[in-house]
Subunit: 359 residues, 2 copies
């Protein structure tokens, strides 16, 4: 009995130590039925805590209770997934109680998902699910072993008797190879659209587009010389250009133009989202560019550029669109409300997936 | 020309806006050749910044330079992967410049990897790689769709002509289904040991062990009634108990004992790492427990409990070990230096993988 008593004491003691070291576990973010959201953060000695979120255009002051828990409730929000962080006396922090993190190299922000009354295209629904695989490949271009993510659709036929088309999908600047799934929910958008018969079953390959300190054009080489061969030797895929697409956002949208438009023999689908094009590679490719529009329009089954009217790159993207149209290319533009955000990225991708591989 | 000039201006202007909003990109953590590590954090107005790391038993004060970058260099460190965070005027933050995050529900910490002069068992090496897949399964026990991770070994035979044994591997309290890969590098440990012929090719299933607000025993039911059937109907696996193992750390180490020892007809391998056993489920299972040691010793090909001598649960785990041995069970204990850490978890797992499925 004495032994059990001491064990019990030990556990109580351990629990006290752990509790003293850690902040309390809080329910944050708490999404209410009316789509309002309460955010909470524990900081007993902080002087000021702000909620910074892409839901609102300005920060919200949070209020501290007697236990040191700061909170604020945002009024009903349009259902979507939004990044947010706390500014605690000028220090930006992710929400410690939330496991959903914006995969990024430069900041740590959290994500809050407000579900729709009817499930949105990016939500987990009761449909057959594909899977995301984390793979290593050897890049001879970059001289290193790198990670990429591969989405395979529901019912993926591992016997190789069915062959799939492939979308290469590139993240934005300072994002990582995980951003399209963790933030962009590419896998769920694909699951849902495939279940509705609105998208073809396809494989989606999400590489890591940051090749620094190597120059950016090395990523174009990596895609063409390393990633595509890796995918085509490890997955049952269709290898003609009509079954290969490239898409990307921001810096990845610029990379999409560089990769796709210089390789129209390899990619029949080029879909660029809010491209950032102030790069040497883009300048080299498209300044004084003299394409053969008849050939390219024949090769390209789909060439789209998407952007939001509040995107900080909106004017620049409009210039890109005019330039490509001016060269005689068949270009569809998708202009929607919203800014340079991952809320818009999901919308762009959902539109693209319904347009791919329809021939 | 005018248009190009304005576009250029726009980009410069945009860059300025972005730069003003963001902290500078820093090289942190910077691991030097001699295994010392420099950590950096930008906070122009902070009064005090501390580095908190599992490398050292106490925090280190960081020094601010004229640009507002705080830094400190830790002298040569024993190669391993260590969690760390910054305490900025009493606020704990992960390193914004580091994408490697400790997957956890309660805190945000970063990870720094110090490579060995000879590659360690958890390091990315030039060997054939398995893959990690993120899967959804329907839990009838819990009434929800949940995520689990599945490691399949190099050369995984998708045709189903080779069938594999399966290890079910459970994270610690407040960890997530990603912690065994993101922090524990289970996939790389398996890759390396399989390449050396020291571990059998196997499938490793990493579920999410936190079933709150449901009671903890529902996880035991979820494993037996939902997860195992999901795995066995989706992967080419061997389904006898001699080809099924369960292992876990801390709270997951306690769950391992609960799941494994009440189902010795299903699991011939039960490997518990620094188990936390102050739970109702453990109490219910093992207080006044009267096992049949002959039968259990016949069913169990391996029963191990591992712990570090500086683990805060060390005394408790020693009592567990004595209790199980007192009941006549063949139990191997692995007592090593170190605390209740993921540095030790990797060591425990590496030991286990070499002992599994050897019959």
């Amino acid at each position: 009995m004495k032994r059990i008593f001491y064990i019990t004491l030990l556990f109580i003691f351990s629990s006290i130590i752990v509790t003293a070291q850690r902040a309390p576990s809080l329910n944050s973010p708490e999404v209410h039925k009316d789509h309002s959201v309460t955010f909470r953060y524990f900081a007993k000695n902080a002087k000021k805590v702000l909620l910074d979120t892409e839901i609102l255009s300005s920060s919200l002051e949070m209020i501290k209770d007697s236990l040191g828990v700061w909170s604020v409730t945002v009024p009903p929000v349009k259902p979507d997934i939004y990044p947010y962080s706390f500014w605690v006396d000028s220090i930006q922090v992710a929400d410690p109680n939330n496991t959903y993190i914006f995969a990024n190299e430069r900041f740590k922000r959290s994500l809050v998902e407000i579900p729709g009354d009817q499930p949105l295209v990016h939500e987990l629904q009761n449909v057959p699910h594909g899977k995301i695989s984390y793979r290593y490949y050897n890049s001879t271009t970059l001289g290193s072993t790198r990670t990429l993510l591969v989405y395979t659709p529901p019912g993926f036929d591992v016997n190789g008797s069915v062959k799939y088309p492939v979308l290469y999908l590139i993240h934005g600047g300072s994002d990582t190879e995980e951003t399209w799934t963790k933030v962009g929910k590419a896998h769920l958008i694909a699951d849902n659209l495939i279940a509705q018969g609105k998208a073809k079953p396809m494989i989606i390959v999400m590489p890591y587009g940051n090749v620094r300190p190597k120059p950016m054009p090395d990523f174009t080489k990596d895609v063409v010389n390393d990633i595509i061969p890796f995918v085509e030797s490890n997955y049952p895929v269709l290898t003609d250009s009509k079954n290969r697409a490239v898409a990307g956002f921001s810096v990845g949208g610029g990379q999409t133009l560089n990769i796709g438009l210089t390789n129209t023999d390899k990619f029949a689908y080029v879909c660029s989202y809010a491209p950032y094009t102030a790069t040497e590679e883009y300048k080299k490719n498209f300044t004084n560019w003299s394409p053969n529009p008849e050939l390219m329009n024949k090769q390209l089954k789909l060439f789209t550029i998407s952007v939001g009217t509040e995107d900080f790159l909106y004017e620049s993207v409009k210039q890109n669109i005019e330039m490509f149209k001016g060269k005689g290319l068949n270009l569809q533009s998708l202009i929607v409300p919203g800014g340079h955000t991952w809320m818009n990225c999901k919308r762009y991708l959902a539109a693209t997936l319904q347009q791919l591989f329809n021939e």
